[in-house]
C-alpha cells in the first residue's frame, strides 16, 4: 500500500478539516485571522513533509512522490501560502471576504493541486483536478454580494465543467483504446505498434481539458473575466499556484502516458503555445484594468511555459519548470502591488491609477518595476532566465518558428510591461494609495527578492528542475 508517499497530502487534508472545525468554533470576528494563521502553519508543515517524505509509488500505482512532484508541490505550497498572506489584510478590508472558510478552501485547493502533480493514473488526475477546481470555483465567487465575483465564479464553473467534460471524454477514449487508466500502462500500450486514431483523438481531448486549466489560448476566454471579477486576493491565487499545478500536470501527462506520441502532439502544443503567445502579447495592449492585463499576461506566460513542453525533451521540461518557478513569484509579487492599490478604503483597478506611484510610494513602484521588467524578460531578473531556458529548449528541438514567435511576442509584450513602468514614473501623480498593510509588503518584498536574486540561486534551482525532469522522463 505504501500510503506514506501521500503523507503531505493526507496531513494537509486533515489540517484543512481541523482548520475548518477550528473556524466554526472560533469567536466570529477573529475566525478568519485564526484560520488563516492555522492554514499557513499547515502549509508550512506540509512543505516540510514534502521535503522529507519518502519518494515512491503508492496506492497501487495511483500516486507517486518523486523529484518532479516534490519540486512542483513546493512551488504550489509557496504559492498558496503567499496567496493566503496576501488575503490576510485584503479580505478584512473588503466586505464579506473575511470568512474563515476562505483559507480552508485554499488548503483543499492545494491538496487538489498536490494530488494532480503526483497523479500517475487518469482517475487520480481527474479527482485532483476537480478538487482543485471546485475549491477555486467557490473562492472565485467568494464575494457573493458582488455581482462581478458571482459572475466570475459561475463562468469559471460552467466553462470548467465543460473542460472537465472534454477531459473525461478524452480519458474515456484513452481508456477504451489502451485498456488502462494507469499512466504506465497507457504508455506501454502506446509503445507497441502504431497508435489508433481514437486514442490520439482522446489525447487531443485530454489536452484541451488540461489546457483550459492553464488558460492557454484558445481555451483562455474565461480567464480575463474571472481574473477581473474575482476578489484580487483570489485572482492572485488563480494566477499562481493552479497554473503551476496544471502545467506540471500537463507535463506529466504529455511526457508520461503520451510520451511516445511526441511527434503527434508536438504540433498541437506548438499551436496552443503560439496562440497563447499571440493573445498574451496583443490583448493586454488595450486593457485598462490591471487585473485583466495580468490575466492576458499570464496567458502569454503560459505560452512560454508551453514552449518547453513543445520541445518534448528533458531540457524542455527543465525549462518549463524553471519558468514556472520564476513566474509564480513574479505574479504573486505583482498581485501584491495590485492589492495595495487602494484609495480611501476602496480597491482601484485601472492601470492609470498607478500613475505617479514612483513619487507616492517609491518602494512599491520599484517592486512593480522589478516584476514588470522580469515579466518582460529583462536580464538579470528571474523572468529572463525562464525565457532563456524555454527559448533554448525550443531551439534545441528545432522549433524555430515557435522560438521566433516567442521572441517577437516578448518584444511586443515588453510594450505593455514598460507602459506600466512609464505610467508609474512619468505620469502625473494621482492621489496616493492608502497605507499598505505589512502582509502585502512582506509578499511583495519576498517576491521581489526572489525575482532579483534568482540569478544567485539559479544554479541550485536549475539542478532541482533538472532532477525533476529526470524523474519525470525516467
Amino acid at each position: 500500500m505504501n500510503w506514506i508517499v501521500a503523507l503531505p497530502e493526507i496531513v494537509l487534508a486533515l489540517s484543512g478539516m481541523a482548520v475548518l472545525i477550528a473556524g466554526v468554533f472560533a469567536p466570529r470576528p477573529g475566525a478568519f485571522q485564526l484560520t488563516s494563521m492555522l492554514a499557513l502553519g499547515a502549509l508550512l508543515v506540509t512543505a516540510g513533509l514534502v521535503v522529507i517524505a519518502p519518494a515512491g509509488v503508492g496506492y497501487g500505482g495511483l500516486y507517486v512522490a518523486d523529484a518532479f512532484s516534490r519540486f512542483v508541490q513546493l512551488l504550489i505550497l509557496a504559492g498558496a501560502a503567499l496567496a493566503i498572506i496576501l488575503s490576510l489584510d485584503f479580505n478584512r478590508q473588503e466586505a464579506e471576504l473575511a470568512r474563515f472558510e476562505f483559507p480552508v478552501l485554499i488548503l483543499f485547493a492545494a491538496v487538489g493541486m498536490m494530488i494532480m502533480v503526483g497523479a500517475t493514473n487518469f482517475m487520480t488526475l481527474y479527482l485532483g483536478l476537480e478538487l482543485q477546481s471546485l475549491a477555486l470555483y467557490v473562492v472565485a465567487a467568494f464575494a457573493r454580494d458582488s455581482l462581478r465575483s458571482s459572475e466570475a465564479g459561475l463562468k469559471y464553473f460552467v466553462l470548467g465543467s465543460l473542460a472537465s467534460g472534454l477531459l473525461l471524454y478524452g480519458i474515456s477514449l484513452t481508456y477504451g483504446f489502451s485498456g488502462s487508466m494507469s499512466f504506465a500502462q497507457v504508455a506501454r500500450a502506446l509503445l507497441s505498434g502504431t497508435p489508433s486514431v481514437g486514442l490520439v483523438i482522446g489525447m487531443v481531448f485530454v489536452i484541451s481539458g488540461l489546457v483550459f486549466k492553464v488558460a492557454a489560448a484558445p481555451f483562455h476566454m474565461w480567464s480575463p473575466d474571472v481574473y477581473e471579477g474575482a476578489p484580487t486576493s483570489v485572482t492572485a491565487l488563480l494566477g499562481s499556484a493552479p497554473k503551476v499545478a496544471a502545467l506540471a500536470l500537463l507535463l506529466r501527462v504529455m511526457m508520461g502516458p503520451y510520451g511516445h506520441l511526441l511527434s503527434q502532439w508536438q504540433l498541437l502544443i506548438e499551436i496552443i503555445s503560439i496562440a497563447s503567445l499571440v493573445v498574451g502579447a496583443l490583448a493586454p495592449i488595450l486593457q485598462t484594468s490591471i487585473k485583466r492585463l495580468m490575466a492576458y499576461s499570464s496567458i502569454g506566460h503560459v505560452g512560454y511555459a508551453l514552449m518547453g513542453l513543445a520541445a518534448g525533451t528533458q531540457s524542455g521540461t527543465t525549462a518549463t519548470l524553471i519558468y514556472l518557478a520564476t513566474y509564480l513569484f513574479m505574479t504573486l509579487g505583482s498581485f501584491g502591488v495590485i492589492i495595495a492599490m487602494r484609495r480611501q478604503g476602496r480597491s482601484v483597478e485601472t492601470i492609470s491609477d498607478l500613475a505617479g506611484l514612483g513619487r507616492n510610494d517609491a518602494g512599491l513602484a520599484l517592486a512593480m518595476t522589478i516584476f514588470m521588467l522580469s515579466m518582460a524578460g529583462v536580464p538579470p531578473l528571474s523572468g529572463f532566465f525562464g525565457k532563456l531556458y524555454v527559448f533554448l529548449a525550443a531551439v534545441q528541438s528545432g522549433l524555430w518558428t515557435l522560438a521566433v514567435i516567442g521572441v517577437i511576442a516578448s518584444v511586443v509584450g515588453a510594450y505593455y510591461y514598460l507602459r506600466i513602468v512609464k505610467i508609474m514614473y512619468f505620469d502625473a501623480p494621482v492621489r496616493a494609495f492608502d497605507r499598505r498593510s505589512p502582509s502585502l509588503s512582506f509578499v511583495v518584498a519576498a517576491s521581489g527578492i526572489v525575482t532579483v536574486f534568482f540569478i544567485i540561486v539559479a544554479g541550485p534551482v536549475t539542478a532541482a528542475a533538472q532532477a525533476a525532469a529526470l524523474a519525470l522522463l525516467g
Binding site: 487534508a13 503508492g58 497501487g60 478552501l105 482517475m123 477504451g176 483504446f177 485498456g179 486514431v197
Partner: protein, 241 residues
C-alpha cells in the same frame, strides 16, 4: 443475445433522440423531462452491459435528485427563453458547421477503431463469477481505490463547504429583546406631546404611525410637526354619528 442487441439499439436510439429533444425543446420543462428520459435509457444501456449498480445509481442520483432539482430550478426561475433562443439562432449556422466537423472527426475515430489487446482482454473478464456487480465495485472501491475514494470525499466536502459559503447567511433581522435598552428608556425619548385643534383630526395634524422599520424597542421615534416644529398633543378623534 439477439434481445440484448435489439434493446441496445432501442435504448440507444431513444437516448440520442431524447438528447436532441433536450436541446431543441421549446419548453424548458419539457427539456428536463427529456433529460430524465435520457437517463432512463442510459440506465437501460448500463443494464445491458451488466452494470446494474451503475444503472441504479444513475436512476437514483440523476433522476431522483439532480433532474428533479433541475426541474425545480427551471420552474422557479423566471427565464426569458425567447431571448436565449435568439442567441441559439444567431449561432446556429456556425454551430452546425462546428458540430458537423466534430461529428465527422469522431466518425473517423470510429473508422480507426483499433482496440488494444490489453483492453480486449479486460473486456472478456470483467469480473469473477459469483460476484455481483455491486460486490465487485465494493471490493475495489475501499481497498485498491481508497485513495481515490477519499479524494472524492474531499471533493464532495469542498462542494458542501462551497454551497454553504456561497449561500448561507446569518439572519441578523430576527427580533429579540434587549432588556438593558428597555430599562434605559424614559418617557421623554418616546413620547411626543401634540396639540391638536378641536375637530381637526389626527390626519390634519399629519400624525401617522411610525414606520415599522423604526419601531424597535428602545428607539426614539420623533414625530416632528413640519410647520411649527413644536410638540402637539394627540387627542382621540371625536366620534361622529
Amino acid at each position: 443475445m439477439i434481445f440484448a442487441h435489439i434493446f441496445f439499439y432501442v435504448f440507444a436510439i431513444i437516448l440520442v433522440a431524447s438528447a436532441v429533444m433536450v436541446v431543441t425543446a421549446r419548453n424548458p420543462v419539457h427539456s428536463v423531462l427529456f433529460l430524465i428520459l435520457c437517463f432512463f435509457n442510459a440506465a437501460g444501456l448500463f443494464l445491458i452491459a451488466g452494470a446494474e449498480f451503475l444503472a441504479f445509481i444513475l436512476l437514483i442520483v440523476y433522476v431522483g435528485a439532480v433532474a428533479v432539482l433541475f426541474l425545480f430550478v427551471v420552474m422557479m426561475l423566471d427565464i426569458d427563453f425567447s431571448e436565449l433562443r435568439a442567441g441559439v439562432q444567431r449561432y446556429a449556422p456556425i454551430g452546425g458547421v462546428i458540430g458537423a466537423i466534430l461529428f465527422l472527426e469522431l466518425v473517423l475515430v470510429l473508422g480507426g477503431w483499433k482496440v488494444s489487446p490489453l483492453a480486449a482482454g479486460l473486456r472478456l473478464t470483467p469480473m469473477g463469477y459469483g460476484i455481483s456487480n455491486t460486490d465487485a465495485i465494493g471490493r475495489v472501491l475501499y481497498t485498491q481505490y481508497a485513495f481515490l475514494f477519499e479524494t472524492a470525499s474531499l471533493v464532495l466536502m469542498v462542494a458542501m463547504i462551497g454551497a454553504i459559503v456561497l449561500t448561507h447567511r446569518d439572519r441578523r433581522r430576527s427580533k429579540s429583546q434587549v432588556i438593558a435598552q428597555q430599562n434605559a428608556r424614559n418617557p421623554a425619548d418616546t413620547l411626543a406631546m401634540i396639540d391638536v385643534a378641536v375637530g381637526a383630526g389626527v390626519k390634519a395634524a399629519d400624525i401617522r404611525r411610525p414606520d415599522p422599520a423604526l419601531e424597535r424597542p428602545g428607539e426614539v421615534v420623533v414625530l416632528p410637526d413640519e410647520e411649527t416644529h413644536e410638540p402637539v398633543l394627540v387627542a382621540p378623534e371625536p366620534r361622529s354619528h
